[in-house]
């Protein structure tokens, strides 16, 4: 079953490539899109098979000097294949209607199909070589995809440069880490790595290297700088794929490292993961809450969610090191539930943002507005996605956060000072990010869809074509559906990571016997409906007796001419927050006041400019890059044009090698 699934994916990939290259532009999307969706579906089914306990493997007959190439997904790998496959097929369906211009080209479709296949092969790998091969293939194809619209905007090239550098840095770190592990274990197979004994220095170096490599791919602070640049510049279906699926592989790697290969006997490893997660979560949502570009907002929200996943993973690892396995299981379940939840709502949100971009031509929230009446389906689905992202009840996001908080508050009961400090701080951090996420998504939804349009583009918006609508509905259905029957997802997660303390109860409610807590959202929904009936009845009766009356002007406290431009914008919505947190955000503000020529007391024009850049970029990366630039410029002096000098360099190198070898 598994082998057939894997081979089907490759076969469909070949078919997709042929279709993409052979068909003319008019039919390309309609023909290739469903095949790519099929790749995603095949991946999801293979993952499902792996979760149900099927065993199978594919040995690729490649004679690489490093080791054999095997694909044999474990239940955990199967879980990730399921998630990625589902996201992939939804995005592929969306792409059928969305692609235009450069994103409808042959290169783009070929890259998309290869990207999805590579992403699905990473969790299926059972040895280092196949893992790294699939990883690099994924990195290369995603770089090509990010570069799709480079002819339209110069910022795309910049973003791709950042993305490519960080991806290669991540690959390098992974290579170092895996090399150390394989050398110690004597084999490149994951089975051997799981069972091997490690000496402590090698284990420490390998752990840090692998963790940083996976953190760079996942978008953890301080290695996150590529995320807010690359995700907005990519075409929307690619952004959704990257944000909802690709960064999850960083989390998959981190889970592999901390729970299977290098199970921590030392606390500082877990505390490191926990700390990285906490900082990323808080910083990510802070930047998201003040962002006015909708895609940048969603990209930073991804950083926040990945931070929460790392936080959960760190807590699980820490608790396991202190022998509280029941609670550690719950924390790991929380991590996987967050993966699932984020995949569902982030797909919906990015695809919704794509619809907005396509309909209005704007990505900036300050230029949107009033789209709720013009694009009703997009508005509803985006709203549901926003509910999920803000972790409000009845969505899967809420379930994931609930499980995480249960793990954290029950985790510190074991008379341990470190736990007594880290767990409350973690709860506080999670609560803060939840609050800020709420504000961020109220802003995103409210400014974009409510009130009146703030620009020409927004007032001319029209609803998206059928395939895009279908994809949006699928995403939103997952957000709510999984949230109402979380027992099913809890069971899946328990199988994926081999956990005992998580399961389902009742009408598909979540049961955590280890910490004696249950959650049944469907009962909550029932209660809500029961209590809503009298209220709605009164409202409807009142509406018949006192129908709503249309007026020409809003009250506006007596202001008669209230233009749409006078409404609050996204920047103004987040202004109190940016002032409160200006130490962390460091915005640059410029106020230019032009006085009237007759009297200085009268103001003709006021210009307010605010620039928010990523603090890590300006304080950490730019100085490093400037230093490298200076060293490079100094090194240019070595290149003086004299051939004799160049030959002398190789001579000196040869002498050095001789002397080193002979010593």
């Amino acid at each position: 079953m598994i082998a057939t699934g894997l081979l089907t994916q490759v076969a469909l990939l070949a078919l997709a490539i042929v279709l993409a290259l052979a068909t003319p532009v008019r039919y390309r999307a309609v023909l290739t899109g469903p095949v790519v969706a099929g790749i995603g579906l095949a991946g999801a089914l293979t993952g499902w098979a792996a979760l149900s306990g099927a065993h199978g493997s594919v040995n690729v007959p490649v004679t690489l000097p490093l080791g054999p190439v095997t694909l044999a997904p474990t239940p955990l790998g199967g879980f990730f294949m399921l998630v990625i496959g589902a996201v992939g097929s939804v995005c592929a369906v969306y792409a059928i209607g969305y692609v235009h211009g450069p994103s409808a080209s042959k290169t783009s479709w070929v890259a998309l199909a290869t990207f999805l296949t590579a992403m699905q092969l990473v969790p299926a790998s059972a040895d280092v070589v196949s893992f790294l091969l699939a990883w690099e293939l994924m990195a290369v194809t995603s770089t090509v995809l990010v570069l799709t619209e480079h002819a339209d905007r110069p910022s795309v090239r910049n973003a791709t440069l950042w993305y490519a550098s960080m991806t290669q840095l991540s690959f390098f770190l992974l290579l170092v880490g895996f090399a150390i592990l394989s050398a110690q274990a004597g084999s490149t197979q994951f089975v051997a790595l799981r069972a091997a004994e490690w000496d402590s220095t090698a284990a420490n170096v390998a752990f840090v290297s692998l963790l940083l490599g996976f953190a760079a791919k996942a978008g953890i602070v301080p290695l996150h700088v590529w995320l807010p640049r690359a995700h907005p510049e990519a075409p929307s279906h690619v952004s959704a794929l990257m944000s909802a699926a690709m960064v999850k592989l960083g989390v998959y790697g981190a889970i592999l490292v901390s729970t299977e290969f290098l199970v921590s006997r030392t606390t500082w490893w877990s505390v490191l993961i926990l700390a990285l997660g906490t900082v990323s979560a808080v910083y990510g949502i802070l930047q998201a809450s003040v962002a006015s570009d909708i895609k940048r907002l969603l990209a930073f929200s991804t950083t926040e969610n990945i931070g929460l996943m790392f936080l959960a993973l760190g807590a699980a690892s820490l608790l396991r090191a202190y022998e509280t396995t029941a609670v550690a299981d719950v924390a790991l379940a929380a991590c996987l539930l967050l993966v699932l939840a984020h995949a569902a709502f982030k797909t919906t949100l990015f695809l919704g943002a794509g619809s907005i971009l396509r309909a209005t031509g704007h990505r900036d929230l300050d230029l949107l507005g009033g789209l709720g009446s013009r694009m009703p389906l997009t508005s509803v689905t985006f709203g549901i996605g926003a509910l999920g992202a803000a972790a409000l009840p009845l969505t899967i996001g809420f379930v994931a956060e609930w499980v995480l908080l249960q793990a954290l508050i029950h985790g510190a009961g074991s008379h341990n000072r470190i736990l007594a400090i880290t767990m409350p701080v973690a709860v506080g951090a999670v609560a803060l990010t939840a609050g800020l996420a709420l504000m961020t998504f109220v802003k995103a939804y409210g400014i974009a869809f409510l009130a009146r349009p703030r620009s020409e583009g927004a007032s001319r918006a029209q609803e998206s074509p059928a395939s895009m609508r279908l994809a949006l509905v699928a995403g939103a259905a997952l957000v709510i559906g999984l949230g109402l029957v979380p027992g099913l997802t809890a069971d899946i997660v328990a199988v994926a990571a081999g956990l005992d303390g998580v399961g389902s109860v009742g009408l598909a409610g979540v049961d955590l016997p280890g910490v004696s807590a249950t959650l049944d959202p469907s009962l909550l929904l029932l209660l809500g409906i029961v209590l809503a009936l009298p209220v709605v009845a009164v409202s409807v009766r009142n509406a018949r007796r006192r129908p709503r009356r249309n007026v020409d002007l809003a009250w506006g406290c007596g202001g008669v001419r209230v233009s749409p431009r006078m409404q609050y914008t996204a920047t103004s919505y987040a202004e109190p927050l940016s002032r409160i947190f200006d130490d962390s955000l460091r915005p640059e503000r410029d106020v230019i006041v032009t006085h009237s020529t007759e009297a200085r007391y009268l103001v003709e024009r006021i210009q307010y400019r605010q620039r928010l850049s990523d603090v890590f970029e300006s304080r950490l990366y730019l100085p490093v890059i400037a230093t490298i630039d200076r060293v490079g410029a100094a090194a240019k002096n070595l290149q003086n044009g004299k051939i004799n000098f160049y030959l002398a360099y190789s001579f000196v190198a040869f002498l050095v090698v001789l002397m080193v070898v002979s010593l």
């Binding site: 009130a451 807590a517 409202s539 409404q567």
Partner: protein, 317 residues
């Protein structure tokens, strides 16, 4: 068990629906008397609601379905709060979560609904109120969660009914230092969440000082009626929560006529006392500048965090 719990929940909802407008009326009356005015009487909020429901709601151009649906969502979420929080009795459904985080989640649904109504208005004031309201809500959430977390540590569960049960059975724990710290921070958080002084002035007429009032500026008729009722229910529920946690005596531990009546009576007394105290404090406090509010909330967060650490240290000792 199930039937009893449903009956109790229904009783709580009805009791709160009746009591909270009276609570608000009482608060306004106390304030009026202290300020040397005659006041409008305790029944004025009921009269206001009756007036509002008799008027037509207005729709300005650009306003969408949020204006009609938002207030209903707010009221329903507040009613759900009233049924989940142990106010009259501590009998809970076996499957229905009166878990702390669920309660906070439901509270936030109401917050979001109100914020969206404010944004939908399409005026600068609505946006301003919405922005300030959400900023305060974002900063309050850590305090609320961590303070109730502090109270849940000795019990080992985050279900509110079990927390209150434990406090009924061990009255001395109410006066423990951990409990006091947690209650103080929770009180500050509740004041911020329900838009009372010093965070927001509920009776201001200056638009630039409004937080809650600005969001309901464009609503009229039944929309405004639901919004007002929803806010009052939230206030009542949260004050009731503080009362239950501070003075848990008299709560019904089983669903029988006499304990339930006693529970309702004690609920009314608790709400009245807390309301009067809050109103008195409001007379003597000035509203804080918006950018001083985060300091207040940060202070309450630190108190809550101290409470949690203290509770762990008392457990480990």
């Amino acid at each position: 068990m199930n039937g009893g719990a449903s009956v109790l929940a229904l009783i709580q909802v009805l009791a709160m629906a009746v009591l909270t407008p009276l609570l608000v009326g009482l608060m306004r009356q106390v304030r009026a008397r202290l300020e040397g005015r005659a006041g409008a009487g305790v029944l004025q909020p009921w009269r206001d609601l009756r007036k509002l429901f008799a008027k037509e709601p207005l729709r300005a151009p650009g306003i969408s379905w949020v204006q009609a649906v938002g207030p209903v969502v707010l009221v329903v979420s507040s009613l759900v709060l009233c049924s989940l929080i142990p106010l009259v009795g501590t009998v809970a459904f076996p499957g229905l979560p009166d878990d702390l985080f669920v309660v906070v989640g439901v509270l936030l649904i109401g917050t979001v609904a109100l914020a969206l109504v404010g944004l939908d208005a399409g005026s600068a004031f609505g946006g301003m109120g919405s922005s300030r309201h959400m900023t305060i809500a974002a900063l309050v959430e850590p305090t609320v969660l961590v303070s109730i977390y502090a109270l849940s540590v000795p019990i080992g569960s985050s279900a509110l009914s079990r927390i209150v049960d434990a406090r009924i059975q061990a009255p001395a724990s109410v006066a423990a230092p951990v409990s006091l710290l947690a209650m103080v921070s929770l009180a500050i958080a509740v004041i911020a969440e329900t838009s009372r002084m010093p965070v927001d002035n509920p009776s201001t007429h200056l638009e630039l000082t409004m937080v809650h009032e600005a969001m309901v500026l464009e609503s009229s008729g039944r929309d405004l009626g639901w919004l007002e009722l929803g806010s009052w229910l939230r206030l009542g529920a949260l004050l009731g929560l503080i009362g239950t946690l501070t003075v848990p005596f008299g709560m019904a531990v089983e669903v029988a006529p006499v304990p339930v009546l006693v529970g309702m009576l004690t609920l009314a007394i608790r709400l009245a006392v807390l309301g009067a105290v809050l109103a008195t404090v409001e007379v003597f406090l000035a509203k804080l500048r918006l950018f001083r509010v985060p300091e207040l909330l940060a202070g309450s967060f630190v108190l809550a965090l101290l409470a949690v650490t203290a509770s762990y240290l008392t457990v480990t000792v």
